[in-house]
């Protein structure tokens, strides 16, 4: 019988998760279970019966970090259901919000969550960074501030900037606000230099570790990238292990995947139905986006030089966020330079229909699906967040990491080993509150004062 070692409350990730390692006496790891201990908050129950004008505002509350992506994805799905076009400037404002959100989220992960462990050693936290690398600490705060501040300028709030509604956005981005954003971007030159050093510093010190630790073979799913970072609207590419490419629509993703129930977790494990649970795992997020990107910035070239054109390296996620942060800044600048006008909202007329939409959230592809009636009241809801897509991959990477760390040791796992294993999980930047946004399946629940079971 293998012994079960538990890592309770994996540190430095969003939400709550634990890991159970099954160890044999000789130190061999049999399997790993990634337990999402953050329960489903049943957003499908919350949103059912709500009017479509409220849905994007409520959907943003799924997550306190990628609120913009949920807000915009809900709007896109409802517009898709009703066939509502949106004005060009509204699309630009939404892209600005997504880019700012991605910048802030990546800065949080790079500087506060995963960065300290990679830059110094496994056990260090942001406090050690503040003492040893004050410039790095300051750059992190500055970059996160820029991202948050831009959403505050556009939408009035730093968090839950829910300015998008079906048909467009509510607020005009006038010249004064545009100047303010440009001024913020101009102040970012110093932190940009620091983040360029960051990837160089890590890659030069521990390249072998970055390439092989927790490495697994999966497919990749992301929006098609061009010369700039595309987060809002582009065809979806499924990049297979053998570098073959398949173009999908959002609705096809839902047809192609099966979501497997796990009795130990609150979150389902999706995989490609054709290929089965073993071969059909796919990953999303910065690593998937960078595979076919054609950006032009030094961090991107450094990434490609170190990891190659096509990489399966799990720790590569940490480095792939750096060129994206640079691209976010460039993207915001180019959108504002391209000019915005005052036409930001079309009238959205509810129709009976089904809408599926995806956007690129900071952690990867986010999918929302809504059914509405002719009045605009929402029926069934489905949200598949990037971390949901990652469940199986996280488990496999953790298994690989545990095998490396515990190789040759007895059936015990010291605190130091646990922290090392956690690093493989942290590379994915999992957000457990998104992953458990909607319920797992049709759940029978008890009704007060009766034995009748009611389906949701």
């Amino acid at each position: 019988m293998p012994k079960v070692v538990k890592i309770d409350n994996v540190a430095r990730l969003e939400g709550h998760a634990s890991v159970a390692l099954y160890l044999y006496k000789n130190g061999e790891v049999e399997k790993v279970e990634y337990l999402a201990t953050e329960p489903s908050r049943a957003f499908d129950v919350i949103l059912k019966g709500k009017h479509a004008s409220e849905v994007p505002i409520l959907a943003a509350r799924i997550c306190g970090i990628c609120y913009t992506a949920h807000n915009i994805c809900a709007c896109k799905a409802l517009e898709e259901a009703w066939g509502t076009p949106i004005p060009v400037s509204a699309k630009k404002i939404r892209e600005l919000l997504l880019l700012a959100n991605t910048l802030a989220s990546h800065a949080l992960h790079t500087f506060f969550l995963a960065g300290p462990g990679l830059l110094i050693d496994g056990t260090s936290t942001i406090v050690d960074v503040q003492n040893k690398h004050p410039d790095f600490f300051k750059a992190g705060i500055k970059l996160r501030m820029i991202g948050q501040k831009i959403s505050e300028i556009i939408a009035g709030r730093k968090v839950h900037a829910t300015i998008s509604v079906p048909g467009g956005v509510l607020g005009v981005l006038d010249q004064e606000k545009q100047d303010e954003i440009m001024k913020l971007l101009d102040s970012a030159s110093e932190p940009m230099k620091v983040i360029a050093c960051y990837s160089h510093c890590i890659l030069s010190k521990r390249k072998e570790y970055m390439l092989s630790y927790g490495k697994i073979e999966t497919h990749f799913l992301a929006l098609k990238q061009s010369k700039r970072l595309e987060l809002y609207d582009n065809p979806i590419e499924l990049l297979m292990k053998d570098e073959k490419m398949v173009i999908l629509t959002p609705a096809q993703i839902l047809e192609k995947i099966t979501e497997e129930e796990k009795e130990y977790s609150y979150v389902r494990h999706p995989y490609l139905t054709d290929l089965g649970p073993e071969n059909g795992q796919f990953r999303v997020g910065p690593l998937a986006r960078i595979q076919n990107a054609n950006w032009d910035n030094p961090s991107f070239h450094e990434f490609k030089k170190s990891f190659g054109d096509f990489t399966q390296s799990t720790m590569g996620y940490n480095i792939a966020r750096i060129p994206e942060m640079v691209e976010c800044m460039k993207g915001i600048r180019s959108i504002i330079e391209s000019g915005l006008d005052k036409e930001i909202k079309n009238i959205a007329r509810p129709k009976k229909g089904v809408g599926v939409a995806v956007v690129e959230a900071p952690r990867g592809l986010l999918l929302h699906r809504y059914e509405t009636d002719s009045e605009g009241v929402v029926g069934k809801t489905r949200v598949i967040a990037p971390t949901t897509f990652h469940q199986g991959s996280i488990e496999r990477s953790t298994l690989g990491a545990a095998k490396t760390v515990l190789n040759g040791k007895k059936d015990d796992c010291s605190d130091e080993d646990k922290i090392k294993i956690e690093q493989a999980i942290r590379a994915y930047d999992p957000c457990m509150s998104c992953a458990g946004a909607t319920q797992l399946r049709v759940i029978k629940r008890p009704r007060l004062g009766g034995n009748n079971n009611q389906n949701i």
Partner: protein, 220 residues
């Protein structure tokens, strides 16, 4: 400091003496309940940050359909079972201060925490979002739209200068606690009342019954 978002988990500190315990989020699992019950007695001051921690917020909307939460099959560890009712932590422990909002304004969190750290009285907020809003108002009580049908955000964008209520949009600014600087309204979005009704708290402490009556009288 015990916070597993920023630090590694250091279990022994859970039950050590704490100056300020900050609670975020509603109680969703039995484990959450155990955790707040373990930590609260060792804290000198307990502050609930965010609408979910103050009064349940959006998480509690999951209770609306039936009083029971959907029961998922049991997990391996019993401590992670879903709580039968989603609720705010104040159902189990005494909360000293409430900072509502979704999200709570950063400057308000700062004011409250600094006041607590320096031993000053915590600032009071007894005005509504409407008091902070600088849109044009005619002064007339807002008309109730014909048939009780408010305009929704699916229509054209609202006029950025005029009062939302007078334009026919449902704006909760008249009831909601202020302190946010009417930030959503400045971005042309009607107030969602994310900070809760002004009748609930004053200076982040709960109103007594008499105080509530007094406020109601003033509002009339």
């Amino acid at each position: 400091m015990h916070s597993y978002l920023l630090m590694d988990r250091v279990t022994p500190t859970i039950e050590s003496e704490t100056d300020i315990l900050i609670i975020e989020g509603a109680i969703l699992t039995n484990q959450d309940e155990t955790l707040v019950k373990r930590m609260a007695p060792h804290a000198k001051k307990v502050v609930a940050v965010g609408s979910c921690a103050c009064f349940g917020g959006i998480a509690c909307l999951g209770n609306l359909k039936t009083p029971f939460r959907p029961q998922k099959r049991d997990l391996k560890e019993p401590e992670h079972k879903l709580h039968p009712l989603v609720c705010s932590p104040k159902a189990f422990i005494d909360v000293d201060y409430f900072i509502p909002g979704c999200p709570p304004p950063a400057n308000v969190i700062q004011d409250v925490l600094f006041a607590l750290a320096e031993g000053r009285p915590v600032p009071e907020i007894a005005h509504t979002v409407c008091d902070e809003c600088d849109r044009e108002r005619t002064g007339e009580p807002p008309p109730i739209p014909p048939g009780g049908k408010w305009k929704t955000l699916l229509d054209v964008a609202p006029d950025p200068k005029k009062c939302f209520l007078e334009q026919g949009y449902l704006c909760l600014g008249r009831q909601a606690i202020g302190g946010c600087g009417a930030s959503c309204i400045k971005a042309n979005m009607p107030c969602e009342g994310c900070r809760g009704p002004v009748l609930l708290y004053r200076g982040f402490k709960k109103f007594t019954h008499e105080e509530k009556r007094e406020v109601l009288r003033c509002l009339k």
